[in-house]
């Protein structure tokens, strides 16, 4: 855990101002290292989704820089949105195949990767199903499989479990950590749930609104893999209290 991990992405002094002089993000600094699990935690309007869109390259900063270390191309970023965002006309395996299809790889040449990704999220039996045949949690798993099938350098998750019931959410939290243990992915995870951020991440970036900005960064120095029992441990409660306080301070500051 303590070894210095390689830097992946460096965000420095990024501002984003939308039309009408809406300051969505002010002075964002963030260094992402390999195998980081970073949560962006804050109230709505704090610019956490804006930050994610900037990092994804879907929008460009008004000022400041976003620098990738090393080569950076298509398929180096995986995304999971709040909705599963699957193509309803395509089967589960075709949905997971999409990132490869868009770089011109034939299905046969990547079939093993697609099936492996489906196996990692426990859906290998459903490869020929259509999205409408799946439950909300299963659709989200397909979405996660698609995000990681190219083994991207960075996975961005924008409140992926917010629309799911709590039981499903807990299960997916556990599975996500297991996945991280298996493939060692780097994740930036947007959430407004204190408990989710503590359970999942090793760094919590607390943000405030109007203008969107970072107010505090907390570390959760608990080793991975984290068992289910971590949720009910004293250490968890302690981290959750600190994160709640930081969030409260951020909201007062706004």
């Amino acid at each position: 855990m303590n070894r210095e991990r390689r830097e992946l992405l460096h965000v420095s002094g990024v501002d984003k101002v939308f039309a009408g002089n809406v300051e969505a993000l002010r002075g964002l600094d963030l260094t992402v290292r390999q195998e980081d699990f970073i949560s962006l935690l804050g109230p709505s309007g704090c610019g956490k989704s804006t930050a994610l869109r900037l990092i994804a390259g879907l929008s460009t900063p008004t000022s400041g820089k976003i620098e990738w270390r090393g080569d950076h191309g298509a398929g180096d970023i995986g995304v999971v949105f709040q909705e599963p965002t699957l193509m309803p006309w395509a089967t589960v395996s075709q949905n997971v195949y999409l990132p490869f299809r868009l770089v011109g790889k034939s299905y046969n040449s990547v079939r093993d990767e697609v099936l492996e990704a489906l196996k990692l999220v426990g859906l290998e039996k459903f490869q020929n199903a259509y999205p409408r045949e799946l439950s909300g949690g299963m659709k989200m798993r397909v979405s996660i499989a698609r995000a990681m099938v190219t083994r991207p350098r960075l996975i961005l998750m924008d409140e992926p479990f917010a629309a799911l019931d709590e039981i499903t959410r807990f299960k997916l939290n556990n599975d996500l950590l297991e996945l991280k243990a298996q493939i060692g992915c780097t994740v930036i995870f947007v959430t407004h749930s204190v408990f989710e951020s503590v359970f999942l991440s090793d760094r919590i970036v607390v943000m405030a609104a109007r203008p969107g900005r970072v107010t505090e960064e907390l570390r959760v120095d608990e080793p991975y893999p984290r068992p289910e029992s971590f949720r009910t441990s004293a250490a968890f409660a302690d981290h959750a209290r600190r994160a709640s306080e930081a969030l409260e301070t951020a909201m007062e500051a706004a």
């Binding site: 879907l58 970023i77 395509a90 299809r101």
Partner: protein, 288 residues
Amino acid sequence: MTDAPMTDAATRAPVVDAEEARRAKSRKIEATARYTLPVLCMVLAIFAWDRIVAINEIPHYILPAPGLVWAYLVENWGNLTDAALLTGRITLMALLVAVIGGAGLAILFNQSRMVELSFYPYAVILQVTPVVAIAPLIFIYVESKTVGMLLCAWIVAFFPVLSSTTLGLNSVDRNLRDLFAIYRASRWQRLIHLQLPSALPYFLGGLRIAGGLSLIGAVVAELVAGTGGVGLGLAGRIQEAGYRLNIAGMFASLSLIAAMGVFIFAALSLLSHLLLRKWHESALKREG
């Protein structure tokens, strides 16, 4: 004792409470009524028609009895099917051209905003001007009767395909669009793998309307142009029978045109169902 659970399950009658039984019964009644009621209505209407003609002694050159219409249909079946084939061919060709033209324009408009801004108003103008008013002009400038008829039918039929496909191409899920951008999909890839599949249900909705309209276009063109030179279509048959006060002939041709319209609608509905049944909400079986 090992078979105990089995006997238990076998002896227990399936539980159907009163509400469920009522619901099952009303479903069954509706399923039967869906076919029997329309047929019953038709039988009654024909019977009433026949009685009215007989009781009032209406002469056949004003209103023929249904039996007379039927006899005409049977007697002239060969001629009538030839006419139906001609009208049907024009209709299908017009539908094909409407689909290619309508969907093609929609894709073109979608790919270039400037083209859309330039031409969309004219597509609307073409649509809102009644085809009956345009048709005589068309036949002045177009030499071939067939081409003229196709043009008429196309003018009526292409617009629903254009407007619904345009709507579909623009109704892509916003997140999916972002996802394609993140994977750096080309404009072409976005069109093929994202926009066209998203637009398919909308396109098929427009197609069903266009099917009926292209029949209307074909009939109107036939009535305006006359069909000398290419043989007689169903509309031409109606006209001709009218000149001779052969009212039974008019009814016979009319019923064939109606049957053709129903057939086109049913065929396009089936096509739509087959293409969408696996994934689209509209094609899913309705539950209870």
